[in-house]
């Protein structure tokens, strides 16, 4: 099984932090730590789609799926396994 977390961390560090190690943890909110902003999220989405070959659906564009390394890893694994991700927007939300 590919190391999704390491790949994503490497991408974020290289693209958003110019390769600097600012030491964010697996569970840290990337938004709260200022690593990701709204534009960065869309870049991250493109990275996930091109790297892992799936389409991120609009209703999956949620912090619960994309705001920490652990959340991203779980989200990518669910997509690769063909499962419904843990967090999707429901019509009533």
């Amino acid at each position: 099984m590919q190391d999704i977390k390491a790949q994503v961390k490497s991408y974020i560090a290289e693209n958003f932090l110019f390769g600097e190690n600012v030491g964010f943890g697996d569970e840290d909110s990337l938004l709260a730590r200022g690593v990701l902003d709204s534009t960065g999220v869309l870049e991250l989405v493109m990275f996930l789609e091109t790297t892992y070959g799936f389409k991120v659906r609009d209703e999956e564009l949620l912090p619960e799926n994309l705001d920490s390394l652990l959340a991203i890893e779980a989200y990518v694994r669910s997509k690769l396994d063909g499962r419904v991700p843990a967090a999707v927007v429901h019509p009533s939300r």
Binding site: D37, S38, T39, V45, M46, D58, L61, L62, V89, R93
Partner: protein, 341 residues
């Protein structure tokens, strides 16, 4: 002050007093601080630029205000018509420059359409387009959809990949930046200052183009909520069509409301939400005022903060890497400060 109940009364102005106070400050900034002889205002036909030019006329008199109508081939006819009507009503000199040739020569339309065709290869002559915002109030991250309309009226929508989104917006931003170039030509020619027209929602949330409509020497209504700008428009007796119009961008070839491109809510609700956020009004009170759930009100606050965070770059003046400490001026020239972006 937090009232018992959150509603539009928190935004009430004493229009006469507030207009006079802003006009006095504007005269001080343009004349004393910047030592310019008047003001240039680009007129979009919308309420913000119309109120700004009315304030400038009150501050400086009509002979010291120069208006510009700056349409291009995708502008609404209404923008030019209403802009001209305001200029004539206020008795100022004005001029129209059509930007189409300039924008065409610089590649604005081609660059944008190339990006659109990467999503919709059939896009071409007779097609129209716009971008609409998604997410935000459903708890999602904001994302953007490209909407295109074929000549036969069929419409198609697709979420924009990041590179195409950036290229379309960058190309469209040429429009605001070329407009500002022309405004400064006339400001330099006349020794006038340039008036920027953002209201509080736009300034606070970053709904402007850096070095485009975000550039100016003075921004007289950047502290006013949109509701308050409409109140001033009525105070000044501006055309009814301007006082009652819904805000649009008039930037894309398909009609586009500001609340489908950028703001998550119609302006009346955005005004209240922003006021409430800045006065620490609890989420429950905002929810009651807007008739939404507590979760939705929480998401509105979150969206305001996310956009405000993104606006920091747009608002920032150029940043120096090392301190710059010139000898302080000892003459009246020390009154010339640096315009806030």
């Amino acid at each position: 002050m937090t009232p018992d109940r959150l509603d539009a009364r928190v935004l009430a102005l004493d229009c006469s007093a507030d207009a006079n106070r802003i006009a006095t400050t504007l005269r001080e900034i343009v004349g004393r601080r910047f030592r310019r002889r008047g003001a240039v205002v680009a007129l979009s036909g919308g309420v913000d630029s119309s109120v700004c030019v009315a304030l400038a006329v009150r501050a400086l008199g009509p002979s010291r205000v120069f208006g510009l109508l700056l349409p291009e081939r995708e502008s609404s006819e209404r923008s030019t018509r209403l802009g001209r009507q305001v200029a004539q009503q206020l008795g100022i000199e004005y001029r129209m420059h059509d930007l189409t040739q300039t924008l065409d020569a610089i590649g604005c339309y081609d660059q944008r359409d190339d990006a659109i065709r990467r999503i919709f290869p059939e896009y071409g002559d007779g097609w129209k387009s716009k971008i609409v915002i998604g997410g935000g109030l459903s708890g999602q991250f904001n994302f953007f959809k490209l909407v295109v309309q074929a000549p036969d009226g069929r419409t198609f929508a697709e979420r924009l990949p990041h590179p195409e989104y950036l290229q379309i917006v960058a190309a469209q931003n040429y429009k605001q930046r070329i407009r500002k170039t022309i405004e400064y030509f006339h400001a330099d020619r006349l020794n006038f200052a340039v008036i920027g027209t953002p209201n509080r929602l736009e300034y606070d949330q970053g709904f402007f183009v850096k070095n485009g409509d975000g550039s100016a020497d003075v921004k007289p209504i950047a502290h006013l909520y949109k509701t308050q700008v409409y109140a001033l428009a009525r105070h000044f007796g501006l055309p009814e069509e301007i006082c009652t119009a819904r805000p649009t961008t008039d930037t894309y070839s398909l009609p586009q409301g500001q609340d489908e491109f950028f703001f998550a809510l119609p302006y009346e609700q955005m005004d209240l939400a922003l006021w409430a956020h800045d006065h620490h009004v609890p989420v429950t009170a905002l929810a009651a005022a807007l008739a939404v759930t507590g979760d939705q009100a929480e998401l509105i606050y979150r969206d305001i903060e996310a956009k405000r965070n993104a606006a920091l770059y747009l608002q920032a003046p150029p940043v120096l890497c090392d301190p710059y400490n010139p000898v302080p001026l000892t003459t009246t020239a020390s009154h010339t400060g640096v315009a806030e972006h």
